[in-house]
Symmetry: none
Subunit: 200 residues, 4 copies
DNA sequence: AATGAATGAGATTTCATTCAT
DNA sequence: CATGAATGAAATCTCATTCAT
């Protein structure tokens, strides 16, 4: 549903980003045509280039900005939870709740991850590291508190945990209309396995 | 190193597949030019189309055939190991040993396939399911033997495990020349977390 | 003589069509390269695809639009002529005058279109039917006026007449620089034969 | 229905020609693939090049040989008919009987006519001239006998007559399964118009 | 004579990006 | 700021023809 005309500068930028998320999610980054994004956003093709350097920059911006919001949301979600294991459980739930609430965004971020990993090796997805860093922090604190085994390599554990969440999210997203499993239950299962797996 | 001339029919097909793996891994599927694959394989451009319908078919064929070999290799690796936990450990080691031995193939299977819309959204990757099915089988037998907790949802656990392995493999592959961590150690860590995580 | 730059939207479309007629007539439809048409028209290759779906659509559009103009011209030419036989004579003269005035267009309409499978087997050339319909109308009126034999099958007669004109035009066009006969005289001869052939 | 194997040299050549007629008629010259002709003929692709220089030569050969047979058949048909007008009528009937008996061949010859006219301007379709020459001969004799008007230009008349026959044949062939008119009746109509049209 | 796998030149078309208005 | 018509580079794939067997 293309929206025409009006809108302040910021408003138009937001419309483009939202349109891009929808189109990227729908067709994938490579199949997405700038023209489609523009018409979805209700702006001219050229207008996109007033706000973004190019198509890739648009993808990266989505990643940067949305991940920032996600990181902020994560911090809020973990706030007040003391026990490392409870924090892990909250992390998993938060991850999947995002996937469910913003399916299109989730799809884009997942693809972006592969793309930026692959082609933009100079671009290191910092916001992702921050996201993972939050999990690493939990583990570190857990080790300091003696609740998490000291022999657990945090680097390995954090990527394993993220990979597990990511893969399940991918499967859920790919199932599209007909989810073959319950994400909320999966959050608990994954958290459960990891908590038991790393506990002292 | 283009190889010219000779070779029986089957031999030429293999050369094309191997060249494609190298080129796909190098430049990515979209950036890979059919001409490059052909010259790497030491055949004419058109020859590729005698063996494969198109570029995407080539990618999918690589997946199909290589995964089949991987599945066979996995079966051989697990053969004779009785204990479910030992089998899980062997699974993780096998996964990472493949990544190390066939880095280019791993890159293609992990990164490029994920970027193929057809693969993700239309084509249902049976050989991948078989791979995961092997892990599911281990869990099932473990539950029957009372060694694995009965409340573990196998679907969730198998994708979580695969996701963990996959993500670590991806990180290792992306680091290219300068691995930031030891894959063999990671195999044991991941196996360890999961084993403890699901054990009764 | 490529014309660069300027020109309103409609003007550019016309330039493309005119260039296409020249190039199609020169090299034939299959041998004609889109790039040649573009450079003849003084536009970029891609511009052609802003105005036409593809190369064949360009050919068909030429047919549609030019035939429409030709039909209009025919109507103007016949206007005011009452006697059916005079109208037939005017028809033949008009047909050949077009061939002489717009040799390139004639070549395209006669030769190239006939070689297009789509044109022959799928696309139904309405404007051509209208052209022939004008002749059929003359015959019908002639029969009603008792000047044309009632036993003449109009369908047969109209295609026979058109075929005769068309074939002679073809021979004249193919002779290129060195016409082996006079078209104006031929117009009268053909008209004469047909008029005597169908008169009561 | 591909025929495999056996066959003497000449036999194989005939099979290729027949297959080519079918395939050319089906798909048109440009769309026809040599591979299809070969498999229809039950020979290998390369074999075709043992008998014909190339695809075009195959088309030309069909034209040459079949037209020769047609010319011979025409001579036979006209033999014994004295009256020029009767000969014209026989000519028209013969033309259309061929179209009906050998529809595929007719289609190929018609297309070939355009193609050879267009691209092979050096190749002057002699057998066609012979065919037309037969008609010209009838007219000439008719003029000498005083039955045909002396002011009729034979060159114009012969192409007009051929064009009329050709166009009607084309319409009949294009109608494919559902002929919209009766060719035999059309033969008489066309002959009738021309006879009256040129008679003294 | 026959085969058919291999060749490789070549052109259409797409679409991200620009820039004159 | 905004537009959107125009650009033009770039790459897949086809298929007539060849030639080693």
């Amino acid at each position: 549903m293309p929206e025409r005309g009006g809108g302040s500068r910021g408003e138009k930028r937001v419309r483009i980003i939202d349109a891009a998320i929808r189109v990227f999610a729908d067709r994938g980054f490579h199949q997405a045509r700038v023209t489609d994004i523009a018409s979805q956003a209700g702006v001219a093709d050229g207008t996109i280039y007033l706000y973004f350097r190019n198509k890739e920059d648009l993808l990266l911006t989505i990643f940067e900005e949305k991940m920032q919001a996600i990181n902020a949301g994560l911090a809020g979600e973990l706030e007040g939870i003391e026990d490392p294991f409870d924090r892990i459980r909250a992390f998993a739930r938060y991850h999947f709740s995002l996937v469910q609430k913003e399916r299109a965004l989730a799809e884009v971020l997942q693809v972006e991850l592969r793309l930026s990993n692959k082609f933009l090796k100079e671009y290191r997805p910092k916001p992702l590291w921050q996201y993972l860093g939050a999990f690493a922090g939990i583990l570190r604190e857990g080790q300091e508190a003696g609740k998490v085994r000291a022999d657990i390599d945090i680097f390995t554990a954090k990527w394993a945990f993220f990979g597990a969440l990511d893969e399940l999210a991918m499967q859920w997203v790919l199932a599209r209309g007909k989810p073959r499993f319950n994400l909320d239950a999966a959050a608990d299962t994954v958290a459960d396995i990891f908590i038991k797996g790393i506990a002292n």
